[in-house]
Subunit: 370 residues, 2 copies
């Protein structure tokens, strides 16, 4: 790759606080690009989301999607507003459509605490968490979305059935991804152990899921594959989360456990994510559009900064651009230093550090090059 690879970044600021966390992130990415050099980032902003649906009748315009399709990466703020819904009552959640359209099967949700940032668990080990949850993001219970089968009269059904689907192909690519990540983490000094989270003791589809996990494990040279029931996992996440390295699970379970993981980091404003597919990747904070705090400067941009780090790393990995990886490390370090040295307490944790204070601290840490 040439030293001046240019990456097209499709930016979806979205609804609510989305733009408030995206703006400083893009500004920081521009600074890093200019400062570090060796690669270019070209941003193009797209209108989409619940507010856009209200205005235009379309949540995710086709032209935006076709430009995003061709971009090198997608950076997303937040989408959806509790009061704006489709006629059938479902929320406007275009990120789910993106996951399906681009087959973003691997929802990567790191649970990493930042020294200095407040966390809920009392044990000192919980101040140094560093594990990753991988949430399958194209099937599972979510595959039943929009396909509910009702019994009885249409205006007063007697029962509702939703089907959870687990496919061999979907599970194989998911577990391959998990074991590859495990191996990469091992190189970096982590345990590298991958644990399959399921409910194989009760639900047949999860027994199937686990069997495929064991097959894929064997192909990756893992002879004693690790499993845990989802209920035990939830318990262990509050009791001894430092035991985990890479967790991999179904869509719905991953949704629940990743929010629990965000809780361990101090809240949704601290939790980044990447939804990765065969040819696309979307990077976004785990939080929603938070209409209650819009326009007050309270939104925590940390999760978006860390999602940008994941984006830089992913671009670097997939295109072999070392300077881009370096930019990721600089931003990651700056976020760490900002929390370590400034006693920042995000407002969601009852503190007074809003968007500006956190952004300024990160910008300063980048400038200092500490």
């Amino acid at each position: 790759m040439s030293a001046n690879t240019a990456f097209e970044i499709s930016v979806f600021p979205g609804d609510g606080i989305g733009p408030e966390v995206i703006d400083p992130t893009v500004a920081i990415l521009q600074t890093l690009r200019d400062r570090i050099g060796g690669f270019d980032l070209r941003f193009r902003s797209e209108a989409a989301g619940a507010a856009h649906y209200k205005e235009t009748g379309t949540a995710l315009p086709e032209e935006a999607m076709s430009r995003a399709d061709k971009a090198d990466a997608i950076l997303l703020g937040a989408m959806g507003m509790p009061d704006i819904r489709y006629p059938d009552g479902r929320e406007i959640a275009p990120q789910l459509d993106m996951r399906e359209t681009f087959e973003l099967f691997a929802g990567v949700r790191p649970v990493r605490t930042l020294p200095g940032a407040p966390v809920p668990l009392g044990d000192p080990r919980a101040q140094n968490l560093d594990f990753v949850l991988i949430r399958e993001s194209t099937e599972g219970l979510f595959a039943g979305r929009g396909k509910t089968v009702f019994d009885g009269p249409a205006d007063r059904p007697t029962a509702a059935h939703d089907t959870q689907t687990i496919t061999r192909a979907g599970s194989e690519r998911l577990f391959d991804f998990a074991f590859n990540l495990g191996a990469k983490r091992k190189e970096r000094g982590h345990a590298g152990q991958v644990t399959c989270i399921d409910k194989a003791n009760v639900i047949g589809g999860f027994y199937f899921f686990r069997q495929i996990f064991d097959e894929v494990a064997a192909r990756h040279g893992v002879s004693d594959p690790a499993h845990m029931y989802v209920d035990a996992c939830a318990l262990n996440m509050v009791r001894r989360p430092w035991m985990f390295d890479v967790l991999v699970t179904e869509n719905m379970f991953g949704d629940i456990l990743s929010d629990l993981g965000a809780g361990l980091m101090g809240g949704m404003g601290m939790a980044p994510s990447a939804d990765i597919g065969p040819r696309h990747a979307v990077f976004q904070p785990c939080h929603g559009s938070a209409p209650d705090i819009v326009g007050q400067g309270l939104a925590n941009p940390t999760a978006t900064f860390l999602s940008a780090v994941m984006m830089l790393e992913w671009l670097a990995d997939t295109h072999g651009v070392a300077d881009c990886a370096r930019a990721g490390r600089v931003l990651d370090k700056a976020v760490e230093v900002a929390f370590r040295d400034n006693g920042l307490v995000p407002t969601e944790y009852g503190g007074s550090s809003g968007t500006r204070a956190i952004t300024d601290a990160v910008v300063a840490a980048i400038a200092d090059g500490r």
Copy 2:
């Protein structure tokens, strides 16, 4: 009711540490009965579980079930052993069959911390948690148990489908139960607010669940019914669990969230439960058979003691026997005092208080009548 109501208690010690926690509980119940008087408890022990399946080919013998059917309450230890499975790979979990057979739709799982007992959350408010999770226990995703539909060749399926079923009748009785409990708690000085936990933004069956919740709420005079998405609930359970009073949810979600709740109490050994149906009720600790610690005196009997408290309360409520309610209060108080005054740290929490130490402290507190 006469002052000498005799209750028949069907006891299923079960597998692993089951008998180790049941024995001291039955002994304590006998002491309370003799000491307080005004009611009788007659225990009959039944053989069932995974070990019984291995010996006899039957996990839950019909005769035991028909005696349990006629008993006034069922007290259960733990059932299942990881190595003993049905030919199709599913675990032996006769408690699931009991829930179905006796229609034990309301899985009541209190999250109450005992002052003095160690808990994982650092915030002082987390040392005084007192809320209740109600897990629907006869349908939901568990309704698909044993009914998985596979695509493709039988020896190498390409996909597995499991169906989550939510019925109007099942949801109505569940929510009625929840609002009745909310009202009862309100009388006792709690907030009494009932929150429906679902994923109504994505899954049609949960939107249905939520609509029924709102209907039932209205019938109970609640005009602003409270809802929370399951992912947000998991987050809030680690971030501010003191906000909750009564949570009500689907079977699978309840399984996950109740273990998380047990984590907040310090572990499974602290977490009691009641599975309540129209005519039967099963009381059991949330923990499993824990084969790794069998026979070492390490099992924490607290969850079983507190399950016995729930049994006494339930018998008292359903039969109007005041002395039985008193016995429940005495045992409850004794467990509280035992933890408050003795610095007990269960072995699951890295401490040295085993079955004996905890039992002795509770027995002493009953004797002292403190």
